[in-house]
Point group: C2
Chain length 362, copies 2
Amino acid sequence: MAAEPAPISFARGAPSLDIIDVEGLKSAADRAFTDDPAGSFAYGTSVGYLPLRSWIAERHGVAENQVLVTNGSMQADAFLFSTLVGAGDAVIVERPSYDRTLGSLRSLGADLHAVDIEPDGVSVDGVRAVLDSGVTPTLAHLIPNFHNPAGYSLSADKRTQLVALARERGFTIFEDDPYVELRFTGDRLPTMFEQSDGEVVYASSFSKTVCPGIRVGYLVGSTELIGKVAALATSTYISPSMVSQSIVNAFVRGGSYETSIETVKAALAERARVLSEGLRAELPEVEFVDPEGGYFLWLTFPEGTDGDALFDACAQRGLAVVKGSDFLLDDARHHLRLAYSGVTTSQISEGVTRLAEAYRSL
Amino acid sequence: MAAEPAPISFARGAPSLDIIDVEGLKSAADRAFTDDPAGSFAYGTSVGYLPLRSWIAERHGVAENQVLVTNGSMQADAFLFSTLVGAGDAVIVERPSYDRTLGSLRSLGADLHAVDIEPDGVSVDGVRAVLDSGVTPTLAHLIPNFHNPAGYSLSADKRTQLVALARERGFTIFEDDPYVELRFTGDRLPTMFEQSDGEVVYASSFSKTVCPGIRVGYLVGSTELIGKVAALATSTYISPSMVSQSIVNAFVRGGSYETSIETVKAALAERARVLSEGLRAELPEVEFVDPEGGYFLWLTFPEGTDGDALFDACAQRGLAVVKGSDFLLDDARHHLRLAYSGVTTSQISEGVTRLAEAYRSL
C-alpha cells in the first residue's frame, strides 16, 4: 500500500508561522510591559488601549473617539451588527462573501440581498437594482480589497459611486478591510470611508499584519455610532485584552510593523505567482484573476463542474480546499477558494498538481 | 483657599499595580512566545488556548471538553446568558448583586427574581419561596465567595442545600466565582459545581490572581452546554486572545501563580484589617461583616440614611464610593460598597476619616 500523501491545505485564510515576526512580538511585549505596566495589566475601558486607539485615529485622520479597538475584527463586526441590524432589516451583501459574516447577519434575522461581485468589485448596477426594487437596506457589507473569498478588489470609480449611492439612498456602508495592507502589485486606492461623511463605517485588523492569535481589530465611524458600540462592548466584556493591545501598540510604534508588512507581502506575492503559474500550466480551462494582494484566489471551473465531487477528489489526494458554495447565498457549485497564505511555494506546486489530478478524475 | 484633598477611591473593584506580578508576567510572555509561538500567534479556536484549558480542567477534575476559556469572565457570562436565557425567562439573582450581571440579564429581557443575601450567603428559604410561588427559573445566578458587592460568603451547608434544590426543581445554578482564590481567613469550602451532576455551571477568572488587563476567564460545565457556548463563541470572535491565554498558561505553570496569589492575599488581608478597624473606631453605628477574602466590604448605615446625600458628601471630600442602590433591584439607600483592593493602607485610614466626616455632615 502506498504511503498517504502529506496533507496540503489551501483551505484556511491564515498566515504561516514563518511570516510572523516572533522576535518582534517578544520584544514588543517586553517594551509594552516595561513602559506601561499599569496600562497593560489594569482594567481598561471598552474603547481599547488608549495609545493604540490614538495611533489608529492618527493613521485614519479621525478623532480618537471615532475609534474602538476590539478583540479581533469579527468581534467588531458582531458589535456593529448588533447595534445597527435588527430582525427583518434588509442588508446588502456580496455574492460570494465571507461565510462567517453571512452567518452573523443571518443569526440576527437580517434579510440578506446578495449582489454579484465582478473582477473590479461588487456590481454597482446590482446594488442599484436592489434599491430600485423597493428594498431599503440598513447596511451594505462590502470587502473592498483582496476580497474573501473572491480575491477581487473594488475599483476607485466604484468606490466613489457607492459612497454617493449610500448618501443618496440613506444606507450605511460597512467597509470591511482586513487585507488593505497586503497589496503586492498596483496602487493603493482611497477607502470609501475617507470619501464619506458619516455614510461609511470602517473595520480593519492586525491579524494579517501582526498576527491573528493576538486578536486585535478595530472600528472607525462617527462619534455617535462608536459611542453606541462602546456601550455595548462595556456591558459585554468591560474591556478587550489590554495585554494584546499594548503589545500591538509597541509593535506598530517600534518599527516592526513596516518590516512585518514587507515580509508578509513579499511572501504572499511569491506564493500567488507560483499558484497562478501552476494553475495556468496545469488547469488551463479554469478561470481566475491574478490577485493584487491578500490571501485568496477564486477559481471558476467550467459550468457544470460538480464542486462537491471535486472537493472529495481533492480530499482523497490530501488536499484541503473550500467549496465556493460555502460563501454563496445560493447554489453555484463550480467554484473553489484557494488560500495561499499558509503554504510554502513547494506545497503550492504540489497542491496544484493534486488539484489538476482531482479535476481530471471527475 | 485650601488645596483640594488628593482623591481616594473605594469605588473600583480592581487591584492596585503593586500587587500585580509585572516581572512574572514579562517572563511568562517570554517563555510563552519562545516555547509555543505557533500556539500563541496563530488563530486558535473558541475553546481557548489548549494547554491552559487542560490546566483548568485538571484543577477542576473535569474533562477538557467541559472547559471553555474566554476573554474575561464577563464575556463568559454573556455567552452563557445568551445560550440559556431568553426574553421572559425567570432568573433568580441575589439582592444585592453585581450590577453588570444584572444589566446583562435585563438586556436579554430576563424576568429577575431577587432573593436577599444574609451574612452566610443567599437565603435558601428565599429561593424556596420564589420556587413555591410558581416561578420556574431557568437559572439562579449566585456569587458564592466574597460576594460583589456584599463581601459575604455562602456557607457549606447552604451550598449543599442549593444544589439539592436545583436538582429537585430542575433549574441551573450559575456559580460565579472570580474571588475564590482570595480567601485570607477561614477554610476553603467545596464549590457547588463539585457537588453537582449537571445542575451547576461554574465560572472563574484570572483577573484577580494574574491581572485584569489580560482578560482571561473561563466556564466549566457539561460537555453539551460547553459545546453550545463554544459554537456561539466561534461565530462571535473565532477565538479569544491566544496571546493573553498563552501568557496566563506560562504564568500558572511556571510557579508565579502561587506566589502571586500569596502576595495578593497578604495585601488584601492587611487592607481589610485596616479598613475594619478604622470603621469600628470612627463609625461605630455602621454595621458590616469582616471579610474573609476578596475585595469588598458592605456597609449598612442606620435605616433612613440618605445614600445619595452620603455619596455626594463623600465626593465633596475627594472620596469615591459606590452606592448600594447601584446593586439592588429595588430602592435601599442606606448601603455603600467599599472596595479595598486598589488602595494603600494609609489611603484606607484617610478614606475612613473622610467617610466618617461625610456621614456626620448629613
